[in-house]
């Protein structure tokens, strides 16, 4: 059994005192970074990169990876407690997680997120160990046409996310698409919707939009309701999921893990796409469909499992091909190069201790994260008990710090305030911000892939149907669209008959 030999090598590498220590440091930092809104793993890893120069290569990569997947755990904490997604992959967690917190089930939601993340992290690491080299090849079969079709499927699926009217959801998605187009056009370098402001040349940062619409919008909305909120927060249910809860989340966690592992391998927004694909899927297949958006435990378990599995499998293309699938992985490649290691297929054969040591450290790291997070749950849940007039200024300050730290620009803070007002407006009008944010993230990517595919095919649109993977996904998207529109079509027909 070659796998066991490899794993034995990995664990013997990861189980040295130094490596365990740095793995712990990485996961603690990652959790902290995930909890603090705005400060993401990307900035943290960039800042810590020079401190790793003096460490051995394996040790430094173990620590940096810990920061990355640790942040996936932490990101869900603020999403659940105060409706502030710390990472793009926790937007979806906020939908039902925050609703659970308002029902007095904050502890349960946090525990579910931690357990779901733990299971998914372990399972995805196992996949990484078993299939890393063949999986890496899959990522390369995805060309621009396939990505475009994947994004179309994602957008159609995001309509399913909406809990209210389909029309409003479509409107919000389109608004998100438009917001996503702000900035310099990649192909021609021409500024679009920038109003001559260089600050908008690179588009609006996702964190600014998410914090404004979710975080600030929620605060204004709460303050308007006055005492109503504090009554909700006074009661705290059980901190841990009951046996019945655990039964409910087994299937969603498994499905989320599978989806996350599959999408995480693909370059681009793997973990983020995975989290909302998992949510959309649960909303369609779950027996508790009606509860979604009002605090369904499945709506926390599935996306949390998906984003952690995705974070873990996004190491596959990086470690086996030397191809980074997201900016964090690009930094990891940088860290390896500084250590004198050329990432690529050779890493597996020439540096087996490095590869398997990182894989083994992920398991250890996931155990650390659960041990860290479960005891903290009581503490976090009690945070909701803090009177709101103390809590909201604190959130505001952290939001401002987080947004400012993105690129040290006060313009971003003003922009966040603008989105905060917009978020409040959305709350008043019953428009859900989640579909808008997904449109905002997917829109620009979709445009990019569409134009790239057409440039490469010399403007022949048939390219999307000629490639089997792409055609399959477009067919799925069409099917979904029919499913979504069917009820409203039937209603129309019924009205017509009545007349």
């Amino acid at each position: 059994m070659e796998l066991f030999d490899n794993l034995a090598l990995g664990f013997s590498t990861a189980f040295t005192l130094t490596n365990l220590f740095y793995c712990l440091i990485g996961t603690i930092l990652g959790t902290a970074v995930g909890v603090l809104p705005g400060l993401g793993p990307l900035a943290t890893i960039a800042m810590l990169l020079p401190t790793t120069f003096a460490l051995p290569p394996v040790t430094s990569l173990i620590m940096l990876s810990g920061i990355y997947y640790g942040a996936q755990y932490g990101g869900s904490t603020t999403a659940i407690l105060v409706n502030l997604p710390g990472e793009s992959s926790s937007i979806v967690t906020a939908l039902d997680g925050y609703a659970m917190a308002r029902n007095g089930e904050a502890g349960k939601a946090l525990a579910t997120a931690a357990l779901g993340s733990f299971f998914a992290g372990c399972a995805a690491t196992l996949l990484l160990a078993l299939f890393a080299p063949p999986l890496a090849v899959v990522a390369l079969t995805f060309g621009p046409a396939e990505y475009f079709s994947l994004m179309v499927l994602g957008l159609v699926a995001s309509v399913v996310l909406a809990n209210g009217s389909v029309l409003k959801a479509v409107g919000m998605i389109l608004l998100g698409l438009l917001l996503g187009l702000i900035g310099l056009d990649v192909n021609s370098g021409i500024p679009r919707f920038t109003f001559g402001m260089p600050q908008l040349y690179d588009g609006v940062n996702f964190v600014v939009v998410a914090m404004g619409v979710f975080g600030l919008g929620e605060i204004v909305h709460n303050l308007e309701q006055g005492e109503a909120r504090s009554i909700i927060s006074r009661k705290i249910g059980g901190l841990m999921p009951t046996r019945a809860d655990l039964k409910r989340i087994v299937a969603p966690v498994l499905r989320g893990t599978f989806l996350g592992s599959a999408l995480g391998i693909l370059p681009g927004g793997g973990a983020m796409l995975a989290s909302f694909a998992a949510y959309a899927l649960e909303k369609k297949v779950s027996p508790n469909r009606a509860q979604f958006g009002k605090g369904a435990i499945e709506g926390v378990a599935a996306p949390e499992a998906a984003n952690n599995a995705g974070a873990q499998t996004s190491f596959v293309p990086m470690l086996t091909l030397g191809i980074p699938s997201n900016p964090v992985m690009a930094l990891m490649v940088g860290a390896m190069v500084i250590q004198g290691i050329q990432p690529g297929p050779a890493v597996l054969t020439e540096q087996p201790a490095l590869f398997w040591g990182i894989v083994a450290s992920m398991w250890i790291g996931n155990v650390f994260l659960v041990l860290l997070n479960l005891p903290l749950i009581g503490l976090w849940a009690r945070m909701i008990m803090v009177p709101y007039y103390y809590l909201f200024p604190t959130i505001l300050v952290f939001c401002a710090i987080g947004v400012f730290s993105l690129s040290n620009s006060s313009f971003d803070i003003l922009l966040m305030v603008g989105f905060g007002l917009f978020g409040y407006l959305c709350a008043k009008l019953g428009m859900e911000p989640a579909p808008m944010l997904l449109g905002f993230i997917i829109g620009p990517m979709m445009e990019e892939y569409l134009r790239r595919a057409l440039l490469l095919s010399r403007s022949d649109p048939m390219v999307f149907l000629q490639r089997p993977i792409s055609a399959t996904m477009l067919a799925l998207a069409a099917l979904l669209l029919v499913l979504v529109l069917l009820p409203s079509l039937q209603k129309k027909r019924a009205e017509a008959f009545q007349e």
Partner: protein, 312 residues
């Protein structure tokens, strides 16, 4: 309440540094994690020691480096603010509709950390083995090249080749060099011009084929690839420089002091090795940096105009 005010006041007094003169801000006009940021973080700790203070790296990314550069030009030239930027300083002046400063007057060169060479790499399945073969191929079919968008060096490098060889090639733009290389390895695009260090590993393990270094001399990282001069197209010249600049108005003595400090740092064996490993070689003093900048402006601004590479 009074107690709180007192405590805050006390904390403010304690937090005030004894001498504010000791922090030096090294502005990087690009996001954290990129190569420019990396070089800044490699030299910052030792540069602080040399200058008798602390050097703090501050990232002000955005709009192709122009936002951070504009911020630097608004600072005092008292030696407490330095800018670490790249060839983008020159290129943005030629490709952007307008930049809010004069790159030739408002900011002055202090020290050139070095240059990173660029090269052409193609996918092996294209079936070309040298520059001549590539030019032949490009005359027969319209090739696609990957880039990081209009006005970036990947765009200019490929266009330099296209104009010299009098062929037309299609630009396929990406958000960053990494996704462009992914598509090149997967075979979606045919070639790129990119920095040698980021192409090195792929060329070494045969997933990409290196054809020519855009310089008069070969690269120390990939010594087997011919230079443009050797390949018979000497006008293919494109290296990315990384240098430290200061807002206008600093005294020559001050510039010299900073330049000498940086020179000391980048010539330390350990740091020199780290920089060289990332492809950065040939540090140069203030006068040589100034000459290089002037030559760059004189070369690129007319070229960009003549070839219509300008965002309107």
């Amino acid at each position: 309440m009074h107690r709180i005010i007192k405590a805050v006041a006390l904390a403010a007094i304690l937090a005030t540094p004894a001498k504010a003169a000791e922090t030096i801000k090294l502005l990087v006009p690009f996001a954290a994690g990129g190569p420019t940021d990396l070089f800044a973080r490699i030299i910052a700790p030792d540069l602080g020691k040399e200058l008798g203070g602390t050097v703090i790296v501050e990232n002000r990314g955005g709009a192709g480096g122009t936002i951070g550069t504009a911020a630097a030009t608004r600072e005092k030239a008292d030696g407490h603010t330095l800018l670490l930027t790249t060839s983008a300083l020159v290129l943005s002046a030629g490709t952007m509709a307008s930049v809010p400063y004069d790159p030739q007057k408002d900011i002055e060169p202090v020290y050139l950390l070095g240059e990173v060479q660029t090269m052409i790499a193609v996918r092996p399945s294209l079936g070309v083995n040298d520059l001549k073969g590539l030019v032949e191929k490009a005359k027969g079919t319209k090739l696609n090249y990957g880039s990081t968008g209009s006005g970036g060096t990947m765009h200019l490098g490929a266009e330099l080749l296209a104009k010299s060889a009098k062929v037309a090639m299609e630009q396929i733009a990406y958000r960053g060099a990494a996704p462009a290389l992914t598509d090149l390895i997967a075979g979606s695009v045919d070639l790129v011009n990119a920095d040698v260090p980021i192409l090195r590993q792929y060329v070494k393990d045969g997933r990409l084929k290196g054809l020519v270094i855009f310089d008069t001399k070969r690269s120390t990282l990939l010594p087997e690839i011919p230079s443009a001069t050797e390949a018979g197209m000497p006008d293919l010249m494109l290296t990315n420089w990384y240098g430290v600049l200061i807002p206008k108005g600093a005294s020559p003595a001050q510039k010299q002091k900073i330049a000498e400090a940086i020179a000391k740092v980048v010539k330390q064996p350990q740091i020199a090795a780290k920089l060289a490993d990332n492809g950065l070689t040939d540090p140069q003093d203030t006068a040589a940096f100034k000459a290089r900048l002037d030559a760059d402006f004189a070369r690129w601004l007319p070229w960009l105009k003549a070839n219509g590479i300008r965002a309107e």
